[in-house]
C-alpha cells in the first residue's frame, strides 16, 4: 500500500528538517498516541488505539529514523503489531524538503506499507484511510508548531482585529 502527499510550511527547510528528525517532536504530533517512550535519539515507541465497528484494538509500534540526508532523503521505518489479529505492519516513510521561496518549505512524503497477516483483509477499508490521516495530522501538527514558533520569534503580534 502506497501513500503520498506534501505540505507547505512557512518556515525554512532547515527548521522543518530539525523538527522531523527529532523523535520527541514527531511523537508529540501523532494523534492519540500513548505510552510514548524515546528509546534513543532516533527511535521511539508508542501505541495507538483505534476502533472499527465492533473491533477495538491497539496498534503498538516502534519508529526508527534510519536515514537523514538533508534535504533530499529522510527515511523512517515503522514496525508494529495490532492487538486483534497480531498482524505485522511495516511502513517505510520517506520525506524530503525543498525551498520554493525564501523562508518557506515544501515538505513531501510518501509511505509504503506492508501488512503480514489477517489485518491485510481490512487494508483498504481501514488502514489506508487511518494511515493517511495519521501522516496528514503529523505533518499539519509539525507545521502548526513550526509556524507558531516562527511567528512568536519573528512576527510582531497583531494589533488590529481582522
Amino acid at each position: 500500500m502506497k501513500l503520498d502527499g506534501s505540505i507547505e510550511v512557512a518556515a525554512p527547510p532547515a527548521e522543518v528538517w530539525a523538527a522531523i528528525v527529532d523523535p520527541v517532536a514527531l511523537a508529540a504530533c501523532v494523534p492519540g498516541v500513548r505510552d510514548v517512550r524515546a528509546v534513543d535519539e532516533r527511535t521511539f515507541e508508542g501505541r495507538i488505539s483505534a476502533a472499527v465497528g465492533p473491533i477495538e484494538g491497539d496498534f503498538s509500534f516502534t519508529s526508527v529514523l534510519t536515514e537523514s540526508i538533508f534535504p533530499d532523503r529522510l527515511v523512517v521505518a515503522v514496525d508494529g503489531t495490532d492487538s486483534v489479529t497480531k498482524s505485522r505492519l511495516h511502513a517505510d516513510v520517506h520525506a524530503s524538503v525543498a525551498e520554493p521561496s525564501a523562508g518557506r518549505t515544501d515538505l513531501r512524503y510518501d509511505a509504503e506499507i506492508t501488512v503480514k497477516g489477517r489485518m491485510a483483509i481490512l487494508g483498504e477499508m481501514v488502514l489506508r484511510a487511518t494511515a493517511g490521516v495519521i501522516i496528514g495530522q503529523v505533518t499539519k501538527c509539525l507545521r502548526s508548531r513550526l509556524e507558531t514558533a516562527g511567528a512568536s520569534a519573528t512576527t510582531p503580534p497583531a494589533t488590529t482585529a481582522e
Binding site: 500500500m1 502506497k2 502527499g5 494523534p31 492519540g32 495507538i48 488505539s49 483505534a50 476502533a51 472499527v52 465497528g53 465492533p54 473491533i55 486483534v84 489479529t85 489477517r118 489485518m119 491485510a120 483483509i121 481490512l122 487494508g123 483498504e124 477499508m125 481501514v126 489506508r128 484511510a129 487511518t130 493517511g132 490521516v133 495519521i134 495530522q137
Partner: protein
C-alpha cells in the same frame, strides 16, 4: 472408510455439502465427502453467530488468504473458507439471487436449462423465505432459511433513514425484494440465517444427512489427484491424517471451488497443455479453458470525515444500494454500503463507503506455481482492467459523491479523505481495489465444440467420463449479486442430474 464409493465428492464447500447430502438420500448409493479443512462439531459459536463475523474472518483458523497482485505491485487478499461448508461457513451470509439477466447470460453458454424460467423452481426449493410467504417466486420449505434484519415499515436508525431519504430524493426507488428477477434501488438485504444463527450448507444440508450409513465424511484430507483410465475417472488419491491412500469411485465430483477445482484438474493432467508441460504434468485431457475465465467483483473504498460515529453493523449491513453507475446502463451494476466509523483519539471519525462493481468485462486466470497440491494457486484477478469497468467505477464514485452530499445524508458525511482532494480518483481505483470475494468461471460451462468450455451444460467434464465439476467455478460470468446462492444452485442442479443419470 471403504476402498470404493459410488460417488466421491471432492471439497466440502458450499456446493459439496449440498451434493453429498442430496446424493446420499438414496440409501443404495455410497457417497464419500472429502474436505481439506476441519469439520468441527458442534459448529463453533464463532461460525454460527453472525455477530462474531469479524472475529471469524480476522482471528479464526477457518479462513485462507490468497495474495493477489495489482499491476502496481501492491497486493490484496482473496479469501476462502477452509472448513466444512466452505464459503457458506465463513461468508457474510448474503442470500442474494442472480438476476434474471445473469441466468439468460449463462443460458447463452449452457442452453435453455440454465435460463431463469428453467431454474426458478430450483431456487424456490432451496429456500424458506417467510417474508414472502405465498409468493410465486419464493420458496417456503427449503433448507436455506432467509431473514431480513431491516424493514421499511419499522423504525429506522437516523443514518439509515437519511440514506433512504437521500436516495429516494435522487430518484432511486425502494426495493423490498432483492431476489426479484430484476431488482433495483435501496434494498433490504436478505441473509441466510434463522433467529440470527448462520444457516450454512452444513446446517441446512449436511447435518440432517450425517447419520446415513451410506455417507462417509472425511475432513482434513486433501485430494491430490483424480485418477483417469480409459477416458474415465476411476477414483482419487488422498492424503488423510493417517497417510496416503487411493479410493475408487463410480463418479468423481469436484467441488473444490474457483481456485482449487482448476488446480485439481491440472494436477490430474486435465487442463491447458502448455501449462501441464511447463509443470511437468502428464497430459491426460487437453482443455484450454481450465483455470481461465476468472470473473469476480471489484470493490473500492471511499472514506469521508464523519460528523458523528456510525455504529451500524458493517458485517451484516441491513440496507444496501443496488444502483446503476450510469442511468444508461441496462442493469444495476453496483452495490453501495455505508460502513461504520473508524474511531481514533484526536481525529474526527472516518466514514468509509464501499462500492462493489457487479460486472467484470476482462477475465483473469488461475495458474499453478508447482505440482505440490498444498501450494496455493496463483490468481490473476484482472479486476478493473477493462476501460468500461474503470468507467463504471468512476461513475460509481461520482454517484457516491452526490449521495453523501445530498441532504439529509450530508448531515453525516463531511469532506472526502481518501482519495483526498488532490488525489487522482482513477489512480486511487487502480491502486486500491480489492475483491467482493465472488470469484467464478475457472471451469466454465459450454458445449463440447466451445473451446473455452471445461464442463458441458450437464456439468460433466469434456473428454473425461464420470467426472463432474459442480461449484461456482462453472458459472461463465459473475452474477449481479453475491455468489453463495448461485453456488448452492449449482450443487442442487448437479445432484439432481447425477441422481437421474
Amino acid at each position: 472408510m471403504k476402498d470404493a464409493y459410488d460417488v466421491v465428492v471432492v471439497g466440502g464447500g458450499t456446493a459439496g455439502c449440498v451434493i453429498a447430502a442430496r446424493l446420499s438420500e438414496d440409501p443404495a448409493r455410497s457417497v464419500l465427502l472429502v474436505e481439506a479443512g476441519p469439520d468441527p462439531r458442534p459448529i463453533p459459536d464463532v461460525v454460527a453467530d453472525p455477530k462474531r463475523q469479524t472475529e471469524l474472518v480476522l482471528q479464526s483458523p477457518y479462513v485462507r488468504m490468497y495474495d493477489v497482485e495489482r499491476p502496481d505491485g501492491s497486493t490484496f487478499p482473496l479469501l476462502s473458507g477452509r472448513i466444512m461448508g466452505g464459503g457458506s461457513s465463513v461468508n457474510n451470509l448474503a442470500a442474494v439471487r442472480p438476476m434474471r439477466a445473469d441466468f439468460e447470460a449463462w443460458a447463452g453458454f449452457g442452453g435453455a436449462a440454465w435460463g431463469y424460467d428453467a431454474l426458478l423452481p430450483l431456487m424456490r426449493e432451496i429456500e424458506a423465505d417467510p417474508d414472502f410467504a405465498g409468493s410465486p417466486i419464493h420458496g417456503d420449505a427449503g433448507p436455506l432459511h432467509l431473514e431480513r434484519p431491516f424493514r421499511f415499515d419499522a423504525p429506522q436508525d437516523p443514518p439509515v433513514r437519511a440514506l433512504i431519504e437521500a436516495a429516494e430524493d435522487m430518484g432511486i426507488p425502494r426495493c423490498d425484494d432483492m431476489n426479484a428477477p430484476d431488482p433495483y434501488g435501496i434494498c433490504s438485504s436478505p441473509y441466510n440465517s434463522l433467529d440470527g444463527r448462520r444457516i450454512s450448507t452444513v446446517v441446512g444440508w449436511l447435518d440432517p444427512a450425517r447419520a446415513r450409513p451410506n455417507l462417509t465424511i472425511l475432513p482434513e484430507t486433501t485430494v491430490t489427484r483424480v485418477c483417469v483410465g480409459d477416458g474415465r475417472a476411476t477414483g482419487v488419491d488422498l492424503v488423510t491424517p493417517d497417510g496416503r491412500r487411493s479410493v475408487a469411485a463410480g463418479e468423481v465430483v469436484i467441488t473444490a471451488g474457483v481456485y482449487h477445482s482448476p488446480q485439481l484438474l491440472e494436477l490430474s493432467g486435465i487442463g491447458r497443455e502448455a501449462e501441464l508441460r511447463r509443470l511437468g504434468l502428464p497430459v491426460v485431457q487437453p482443455l484450454v479453458g481450465v483455470g481461465e475465465n476468472y470473473h469476480d467483483h471489484a470493490v473500492v473504498y471511499l472514506t469521508y470525515e464523519g460528523t458523528q460515529d456510525l455504529r451500524e453493523d458493517y458485517v451484516i449491513p441491513k440496507v444496501r444500494l443496488l444502483a446503476r453507475s450510469d442511468p444508461a446502463r441496462p442493469l444495476p451494476d453496483l452495490h453501495v454500503f455505508m460502513r461504520p466509523s473508524i474511531r481514533m483519539e484526536g481525529v474526527a471519525p472516518l466514514l468509509p463507503v464501499s462500492l462493489h462493481l457487479l460486472e467484470h468485462r476482462s477475465a483473469g486466470r488461475v495458474t499453478l506455481e508447482s505440482t505440490d497440491p498444498e501450494e496455493l494457486p496463483v490468481v490473476d484477478a484482472a479486476l478493473l482492467r477493462h476501460p468500461d469497468d474503470i468507467r463504471a467505477m468512476l461513475d460509481g464514485v461520482a454517484l457516491v459523491e452526490r449521495l453523501t452530499s445530498h441532504p439529509p445524508l450530508s448531515r453525516f458525511y463531511g469532506p472526502r479523505v481518501t482519495p483526498g482532494p488532490d488525489d487522482d480518483v482513477e489512480e486511487h481505483l487502480a491502486t486500491t481495489y480489492i475483491t467482493y470475494h465472488h470469484g467464478v468461471g475457472t471451469c466454465r460451462i459450454g458445449p463440447a465444440d466451445d473451446p473455452g468450455a471445461v464442463v458441458g451444460p450437464d456439468l460433466r467434464v469434456h473428454g473425461v467420463e464420470r467426472l463432474t465439476v459442480a461449484d461456482a467455478s462453472v458459472l461463465p460470468t459473475a452474477p449481479h449479486g453475491n455468489t453463495n446462492l448461485a453456488a448452492i444452485l449449482v450443487g442442487e442442479l448437479a445432484a439432481r442430474r447425477l441422481a437421474a443419470a
